[in-house]
């Protein structure tokens, strides 16, 4: 499988490294030699220096036999032109494009139906706002993903010390919790991702990922001692593109929203476009401003400035001043493991969001959605069980899943089944598979293997 990536920025870099680990042929195009150097030094991919919108360069990158092209440069214009060129040179190549300008929002479908026939448009800003909204809707969650159009949630929560589940063996869960129990898919302990088995124990301070139907979600959360607290007053620090989008969404939901922005011109922009949101000109780490604006009565502070250190500090400060909950935008994956140590639980990343969206479209077979967890240590995929694939019509224990992967749920029509060794996947079921990074290529193979021969 050959993939051409236009743009060696952060997203391009991470996608390239992920795909390279999965042994795919990746070609990265960028006009900045330094960015390419960083890639070629770290990852086993081919790099081509030049503009991604140039037909010559795209030809050289082998666009004609590429299965997928990703246009993820910082410029929407370059991305669009690259797609147009690719569409002319090789119409069969699947095109994934990052478009960030809000002006394009209403025209996504038009760009899909007409030239340049983009298959998927990714706007990480929209994805981040969605992630924030999901985190807001699930109290106490560190990570929230959605499957089956939101009917099934994939939630990560910290196990508090003293929780009744701390120290319990997984195989004892059915006895402890009776029928209604969440399906525990993965546990992160000391930065290690563990696919739990029946004889594993849960420990305090574990980050537990579980899968739950939407209607049971709050019941399941209360098992982990997380109780619903409605979010009414929100403070956003940083009024850039994401801040603006979030404020707009919150206005639509009639939540009381304030936004702090440092740049006076950006404040004007926000004040002009937002109606009920209070736009404040100032620094998000200015204590007097925060106190003046009743920070102790704020249910949620979202820090979205472009600078992650500011976000971290503002989150810590507002929490100390009495804000009930914070969500911070962090882009550097290397910081993720620090967050729980310094007391920041909820983190969003536009990069991770973009990567998640891109991944689900790159996965072979009928992968419907894919979510990275804990940085990039593992992935949860929702896939359609093809009638011709190897996994259908036999008990799970007979299927040789790669090490580090497990089937976490089977969705059959409207019900979800928590599988045991005896469960059988039927054709056209949707399955939720959890896999560590190393296991992903194997999982992909299982899901799609027979499809290749048709």
């Amino acid at each position: 499988m050959k993939i051409v990536i236009v743009g060696a920025g952060e997203v391009g870099f991470h996608i390239a490294s992920r795909l390279a680990l999965e042994h795919k042929d990746v070609v990265v195009i960028d006009s900045h030699p330094e960015a390419l150097k960083r890639i070629s030094e770290n990852i086993d991919v081919q790099t081509i220096s030049g503009s991604g919108s140039s037909p010559v360069i795209l030809e050289a990158a082998g666009i004609r036999d590429a299965e997928i092209m990703l246009a993820v440069t910082d410029s929407d214009e370059v991305n669009l032109v690259a797609c147009l060129v690719a569409d002319t040179l090789s119409p069969s190549t699947k095109k994934l494009v990052r478009l960030r300008a809000a002006d394009f929002d209403r025209y996504h479908d038009a760009f899909k139906a007409n030239a340049p026939h983009i298959d998927t448009i990714i706007n990480p800003d929209i994805e981040v706002v969605r992630t924030i909204e999901r985190l807001m809707s699930v109290p106490g969650a560190v990570d929230v993903g959605e499957f089956a159009d939101g009917r099934i949630k994939f939630v990560g929560v910290y196990l508090e010390p003293g929780s009744r589940l701390a120290g319990v063996r997984l195989s004892d869960l059915p006895i402890l919790l009776k029928e209604d129990r969440p399906l525990i898919a993965a546990v992160v302990r000391d930065d290690q991702l563990i696919v739990p088995k029946g004889n594993n124990h849960l420990r305090a301070a574990d980050l537990v990922y579980f899968i739950s139907e939407e209607k049971n979600l709050f019941k399941h959360l209360s098992i982990f001692d997380k109780h619903a607290t409605p979010v009414k007053r929100v403070l956003i620090i940083g009024g850039g593109r994401i801040g603006y989008r979030l404020a707009k969404r919150l206005e639509d939901k009639s939540l009381s929203c304030k936004i702090i922005e440092k740049l006076a011109t950006q404040c004007d922009f926000l004040a002009e476009r937002l109606n009920r949101t209070v736009v404040l000109h100032g620094d998000g780490s200015d204590q007097s401003l925060l106190v003046e604006e009743n920070i102790h009565d704020t249910d949620l502070v979202v820090t979205l400035t472009g600078d992650e250190e500011t976000n971290i500090l503002a989150s810590l400060l507002t929490k100390r001043l009495g804000a009930k909950k914070t969500i911070s935008r962090i882009n550097k994956f290397s910081y993720f493991s620090l967050m729980s140590t310094i007391g920041i639980e909820q983190v969003v990343s536009s990069r991770l969001s973009a990567i998640n969206t891109i991944l689900q479209h790159i996965r072979r077979g009928k992968v419907l959605s894919a979510i990275s967890i804990k940085g990039e240590a593992g992935e949860v995929m929702e896939a359609l069980a093809l009638p011709t694939s190897d996994i259908v019509s036999k008990p799970l224990k007979k299927i040789s899943f790669p090490k580090g992967s497990m089937v976490a749920g089977i969705i059959r029509m409207e019900t979800i089944i928590i599988p045991t060794g005896e469960s059988i996947i039927e054709p056209d079921d949707r399955i939720i598979i959890f896999a560590t990074r190393e296991a992903i290529p194997g999982v992909e193979k299982i899901l799609a293997v027979k499809l290749e021969y048709i």
Partner: protein
């Protein structure tokens, strides 16, 4: 300032205006009424004066005029036309003093509707139609009409429009000003015809229907009857006139949008919503106030409340009831409504709903910034930010309006009228409404106002109609500096 150019334009205006006197003349010819000679005389004087001015100040063709020149043309043009419009009255009878004729003419052109005539019904048909007709002309602004016509004569009009309609947010319907004017004029004419038909259906004679339509659409308020609309005492006619007064008080570009097939145009416009809601709310409040205290019947209370409130808010000035007999609260509401006025871009006067809305929003903004000192807030109308300088100019307008109101009240009181009359007359004339309070109340007229008082009030009307700035700027010395 190119005086030749300005005076030439005004000459064209006067000449054209002289031509319109053919309308009352036609009515008089038809009825062979006694005002035939005075009208011919007035028309002759006007046409000759216009032609002479045009000829004397002939100039080479200029394409553009400056904003200052535009303002001078509007202010001087309006005054000049008011002067010539007074001639038919002045020539018609020896009992017409010039100040009275001028007052009546200004009241017509500014669509005010205050009259110095004690016996309106005694006037000839030609003069009656002249009174109504000058209101109709004044309504959309003789200048707007000129913008529709004058470009054919090779006169540029863009700057004129700016001076003519200095409402906070001018709506451009079409890129070319002439097209815009023609469109608005068509809408205006259409409504007038519709009203004539509907009034005749209600049993009015054609002559009365035409006169009332001519004075409803410009929110003027001249009637052919001594008792104003009360003369007809018909619920149907009250309803028709109330409806058309309401329409006339709405921004004409919205009418255009509505006729273009955008049924939600009224609803989407925040000013229109405010205006309609205000009319409804005040009708209910006043209706409640006069129910039992004046009228024993709810229906009657609402009927009279609706007509009077709409008449005052739209600055028309018809009356069907003597509101001075109403409880104090209703009277005070009516007095305050004289300041509010109708929508910007309508034919109504007053400060305009849009300005009032802006001021309310500004006040709220001030309070808001006390609570959130670091907040960045914009004043928005309909989701769009109003630029700072527009807000400032509106605040300036309000201050100027109130200051002039105060000044003219003092001056008018100085001519010897009583307290209530002074307040009522100035509020009514500067807002281009018509009836005031006290000596100039709804069943009285302005005949008893002292000589100098009439001059003062005539200027009030002009000031109000030209949105203060356009006229007052002429007395600022800086305006005349080269």
């Amino acid at each position: 300032m190119r005086w030749r150019y300005i005076l030439n334009t005004i000459g064209v205006l006067i000449l054209f205006f002289g031509g319109t006197m053919i309308v009352p003349l036609a009515f008089d010819l038809f009825a062979m009424d006694r005002s035939l000679m005075p009208l011919i005389k007035a028309m002759g004087v006007t046409v000759v004066c216009g032609a002479v001015m045009m000829a004397v100040f002939r100039h080479k063709k200029t394409e553009t005029i400056s904003q200052r020149e535009g303002m001078a043309i509007v202010a001087l043009g309006w005054t000049a036309i008011s002067l010539f419009g007074a001639l038919p009255f002045y020539f018609s009878s020896a009992s017409f003093f010039f100040v009275d004729a001028f007052f009546e003419s200004v009241s017509g052109f500014t669509t005010t509707g205050s009259s110095i005539l004690c016996n309106i019904e005694g006037l000839s048909q030609g003069l009656l139609i002249w009174r109504s007709f000058i209101q109709w002309l004044g309504g959309m602004g003789i200048i707007v009409l000129s913008i529709a016509i004058l470009p054919f004569l090779g006169v540029g009009g863009m700057q004129l429009y700016k001076a003519e309609v200095p409402s906070p947010v001018p709506d451009k319907l079409r890129p070319r000003i002439r097209d815009t004017a023609v469109i608005l004029w068509k809408v205006y004419a259409l409504f007038t015809v519709a009203e004539v038909v509907l009034l005749m259906v209600g049993g009015m004679f054609f002559f009365d229907a035409l006169n009332h339509a001519f004075t409803t659409m410009p929110t003027g308020g001249f009637s052919t009857k001594n008792a104003s609309v009360a003369h007809f005492d018909s619920v149907y006619i009250d309803v028709v006139i109330t409806f058309f007064m309401l329409l006339a008080g709405i921004n004409f570009s919205l009418h255009y949008q509505l006729l273009k097939g955008r049924p939600l145009a009224f609803w989407k416009d925040p000013e229109c919503r405010f205006y309609l809601a205000m009319c409804l709310f005040l009708t209910l409040v006043v209706g409640f106030d006069i129910y039992r205290t004046v009228y024993p019947d709810v229906g009657q209370a609402l009927r009279y409340a609706a007509f009077q409130m709409v008449s005052i808010v739209t600055t028309t000035g018809y009356v069907t009831a003597d509101y001075e007999m109403w409880p104090a609260m209703s009277q005070i509401i009516i007095f305050l409504c004289m300041f509010v006025g109708a929508s910007a871009g309508s034919t109504g006067g007053g400060m305009k709903c849009l300005r009032i809305m802006l001021v309310f929003k500004y006040c709220y903004k001030e309070l808001f910034s006390m609570i959130h000192p670091r907040a960045v807030t914009h004043i928005k109308i309909g989701g769009k930010t109003v630029p700072e300088d527009v807000v400032r100019s509106v605040l300036g307008f309000l201050a100027l309006y109130m200051a002039l109101f105060a000044l003219f009240t003092v001056l008018l009181a100085g001519t010897g009228v009583d307290f209530v009359t002074a307040l009522g007359a100035v509020a009514s004339t500067i807002g281009n409404i018509g009836p005031g309070f006290g000596m100039v109340g709804p069943v009285e007229n302005f005949a008893q106002v002292p000589y100098w008082g009439k001059w003062l009030l005539a200027w009030c009307m002009l000031l109000g109609r030209l949105e203060i700035y356009t006229l007052i700027i002429l007395v600022v010395p800086e305006f005349w500096r080269k």
